[in-house]
């Protein structure tokens, strides 16, 4: 070694415990920012429209977006590994079509739901296998999956198929009272259970931690001896399964199957996940953040509905703006921590 490089060695940095804790807290910063934004929007809304304060407005955000919450949960898994799943919207539509057609033909609702879950999970598994074993970008594979699922919808029917099954209409109309004035739908419960299970899986199982490790550094995860391949395949399966669940929830909500339904919903799900603080590069993010992301999208829509004078297209413009702001915030955040 040269004498030059040994002159004045820098000392090993030992950050104080307090500083360490503060900087570790920075992990939650994007998600917390979204939560703060949501609360602010709610307060502003309450100032403008007193009925916001009834509480039911908040619950309606959940009731109207059950399917999007479930989709965002599945998408969070995929994005955490650094991947993307563009097929989810089309799989939702396919699930609805399969549901409506099978019910029309007199199948038992239990079997219908099981069939839909198998189809969704199976499609996801197939895409995961292709992504992993042929080493193709998730963007292309799930784009193909999107066309396939959407195409199958048209094969089933071009017309809208109504759902008249008593179990489904019952679920659509059922209301679970929380107090005298407040209520939620059974769909909300299902969505919350999905969120709870996802949270547990991500934070308390080896599979979940491997998802984060792959997003952090896939090569390292492989060298650390983690089950990278099977985890990556499973993540798309989870997303497919979530799309199927979302399709069933959407059927509860809309009581029909239509091949043009849920168009662009994959993009709403991605937007919710990103606004919820998950990095598109993977490894950082929380499923609860994605739920808040969906609520932010929902409250923007509520605002525009309350205003009444604005065209619904303003929703898209506001969401686009928010998305941009959050991506920029994330960039600033990652730059600072690196």
């Amino acid at each position: 070694m040269s004498p030059l490089s040994t002159v004045a060695p820098p000392t090993i940095k030992k950050p104080s415990a307090v500083r360490t804790r503060m900087r570790s807290g920075a992990r939650y910063a994007p998600t917390l920012a979204t939560l703060v934004l949501f609360i602010l929007m709610f307060i502003v809304g309450a100032g403008m429209y007193p009925s916001f304060l009834s509480g039911q407005v908040l619950l309606n955000l959940f009731i109207d977006n059950t399917f999007l919450i479930v989709l965002a949960v599945g998408m969070t898994f995929v994005i955490l590994t650094g991947g993307i799943d563009l097929s989810v919207g089309a799989v939702v539509a396919l699930s609805m079509m399969v549901t409506a057609t099978m019910l029309q033909n007199g199948w038992n609702p239990g079997i219908v739901i099981l069939a839909v879950l198998v189809i969704g999970g199976g499609l996801g598994l197939l895409m995961g296998l292709i992504i992993q074993y042929f080493d193709i970008q998730p963007f292309i594979v799930t784009l193909a999956g999107m066309f396939l699922a959407r195409g199958l919808c048209y094969v089933i029917s071009l017309e809208s198929i109504p759902v008249t099954d008593p179990f489904f209409t019952g679920m659509a109309q059922a209301r679970i009272p929380l107090s005298e004035e407040l209520f939620i739908s059974p769909g909300v419960l299902i969505a919350l259970v999905v969120v709870g299970v996802a949270f547990f899986v991500l934070h308390h199982t080896r599979f979940g931690r491997t998802v984060y490790a792959i997003g952090g550094n896939e090569h390292s995860a492989m060298l650390m001896g983690l089950a990278v391949k099977s985890t990556k395949v499973l993540v798309y399966s989870v997303s497919g399964l979530c799309s199927a669940i979302a399709g069933i929830l959407f059927s509860f909500y809309s009581l029909s199957g239509y091949s043009l339904a849920a168009q662009g919903m994959e993009l709403d799900a991605i937007a919710a996940v990103v606004i919820g603080g998950t990095l598109l590069t993977g490894g950082v993010g929380y499923v609860l953040g994605s739920v808040v992301g969906v609520l932010v999208l929902g409250i923007v829509q509520t605002f525009i509905a309350y205003d009444g004078t604005l065209s619904s297209w303003w929703t898209k413009i506001v969401i686009g703006g928010l998305l941009l702001v959050f991506i920029l915030l994330q960039r600033l955040f990652t730059r600072r921590t690196n």
């Binding site: 030059l4 490089s5 004045a8 820098p10 490790a213 550094n217 090569h219 995860a221 001896g225």
Partner: protein, 532 residues
């Protein structure tokens, strides 16, 4: 053979490995035995009939130049590459690793040069990832914390908070955490691939203390490093590879440094001596009154460097010396137009020139080989030929295609003069070792035949053999009339090659000295702030 001996030993002897002296090691069974290993990549025979053994409680250094096959041998042992032929036994059992997970399960843990952990996870997660203690299917985070604290304490890392993010820690600490991960699995074999390349002296000492601790506990340690001093300080035994073949296995204390080097490069040390004579090149070719190729006067940039007064004559090697971070690279970037200067002026061949961008510099015959090989534009997925032809074609313009015959001749010539190994124009760049990549990079600039070539740390991180070749090449280019600005942290190297030396200190050029009988001490005195 050793396996027979161990059966005759009482059981207790194997248990007392930790306290055994190295001299008795031959009587014990090796933990790892690799025999007749061969691995090939398209166009490259990376390993050919290599054997290697590793005993418990020893530090075994794997030595060789870049491209000798050290990394490949390690990757065969750790399951990253699958072997084409040969046999690997770990703890007496024959193994056929096809994934890192299998190798780890057999007790082989590896810490790579680039820390292979997840920066987005906490220290405790990185230590236990994939092996987290569970209770009723759920990760028991409390046990994770306790277990991590225990392991960190073993490595004298009590000050590291297990809940902090990995990315908050210095590379040195991250490397120790990677070792903590291997300690946690109770690894029998610990492979350390260039663990010290990004550490400073204090950090190296801390790492060595940990390595010695582990050795004394009976762990077999395979250590790879370019720093000969560290190898001699730490290792008990070494295996030398050259060109993918085994040269031999030696006890460290029985092999002198000189002998080691000649075994590594496979020729006598006279070659090294030649270079010293080359530096005694006559100054005569700098004819009196000659016009400097480039002349910088009071060149500087706010917040970067200032006061650069430098004249570089054709056929001259000017060395740029200074401490790491003193402003050497910054100076080079100013002279190449990669950063815009805001004071002073530059003249090229006597004409004032405004260097607005690297493009302008290249148009005026200036080339810059930056210290970052990977970012420099070698295209890893293309072959040696393609990379060279790209550069040639760029100088010719796209319209005039270079005939295949001319390409072949030029490429063959460069491979021969630069001794690029493997000597195969169709080998992929990414399959070449660091030193050989550096040679291809140099060849790319030579193709464009610049008048001034700025070389920033061209020999960093490459082995002695490739280093001498690059030094020889610099000499030859200069004697053919090219001006060279040579930047290196190795002062001996700068002194050996340069006609004149410019010294940078604290982001300003402080002195320019003619290199006649200048010693390392002289230059250090200037850098230390003494009299010129």
């Amino acid at each position: 053979m050793a396996a027979h001996v161990v059966q005759n030993l009482p059981r207790a002897a194997t248990a007392r490995i930790n306290t055994e002296k190295i001299s008795r090691m031959n009587e014990l069974a090796p933990v790892v035995e690799m025999t007749g290993i061969a691995i090939g990549f398209p166009g490259v025979k990376a390993l050919d009939d290599v054997s290697f053994r590793l005993f418990p409680g020893e530090v075994h250094a794997l030595m060789g130049e870049n491209g000798a096959g050290k990394s490949t041998l390690i990757k065969a042992l750790t399951g990253v590459y699958t072997i084409d032929s040969g046999r690997i036994t770990v703890l007496g059992q024959q193994k056929n690793f096809s994934t890192p997970a299998e190798s780890q399960a057999a007790g082989v843990s590896t810490v790579y040069q680039e820390v292979n952990l997840c920066p987005n996870l906490t220290v405790e997660e990185n230590v236990l990832l994939g092996r987290e203690p569970r209770r009723r299917g759920s990760i028991d985070w409390r046990s994770v914390r306790t277990r991590t604290r225990e392991v960190l304490a073993q490595l004298h890392l009590e000050h590291v908070d297990p809940g902090s993010l990995l990315s908050e820690h210095s590379i040195a600490v991250q490397q120790l955490i990677a070792i903590a991960r291997s300690v946690e699995v109770n690894a029998k074999v610990l492979v350390l691939d260039e663990p010290t390349s990004s550490l400073d002296a204090d950090e190296v000492n801390q790492l060595f203390r940990v390595i010695r601790d582990l050795r004394d506990r009976g762990v077999a340690i395979l250590f790879v490093s370019h720093f000969l001093e560290q190898v001699y300080e730490l290792s008990d035994r070494m295996t030398v590879l050259r060109n993918g073949k085994l040269v031999g296995e030696y006890m460290t204390r029985e092999l002198s440094r000189m002998n080691l080097i000649s075994k590594m490069i496979g020729k006598d040390l006279e070659v090294l001596e030649e270079l010293d004579q080359a530096s005694a090149r006559s100054q005569a070719r700098l004819a009196a009154g000659a016009q400097p190729f480039m002349q910088a006067e009071g060149l500087g940039r706010k917040g970067s460097v200032s006061g650069v007064n430098l004249s570089i004559y054709p056929g001259e090697v000017v060395g740029l010396a200074g401490l790491l971070g003193a402003g050497r690279t910054e100076t080079a970037r100013l002279l190449f137009g990669a950063d815009k200067s805001d004071e002073g002026s530059i003249k090229v061949k006597g004409q004032p020139l405004k260097l607005r961008s690297p493009r302008t510099a290249i148009d005026h015959g200036i080339g810059f080989c930056s210290e970052d090989r990977k970012e420099e534009g070698l295209i890893g997925d293309l072959t040696v030929r393609d990379n060279l032809v790209l550069a040639m074609q760029a100088t010719k313009g796209w319209a005039r295609r270079i005939p295949r015959r001319v390409q072949d001749e030029l490429v063959a010539e460069f491979i021969e003069t630069l001794d690029i190994r493997p000597a195969n124009p169709d080998a992929l760049i990414r399959n070449l070792s660091g030193g050989n990549q550096q040679k291809v990079l140099l060849a790319r600039w030579m193709v464009t035949s610049p008048d001034l070539l700025i070389l920033d740390e061209p020999t960093r991180g490459i082995d002695i053999g490739a280093k001498t070749q690059i030094q020889k090449l610099v000499n030859r280019l200069a004697s053919e009339g090219m001006s060279i600005l040579f930047i290196s942290s190795e002062l001996e190297e700068v002194l050996r090659l340069s006609d004149r030396i410019a010294i940078i200190k604290d982001r300003a050029m402080v002195a320019e000295i003619s290199n006649d009988d200048v010693s390392v001490e002289d230059v250090l005195t200037v850098i230390a702030g003494g009299a010129q």
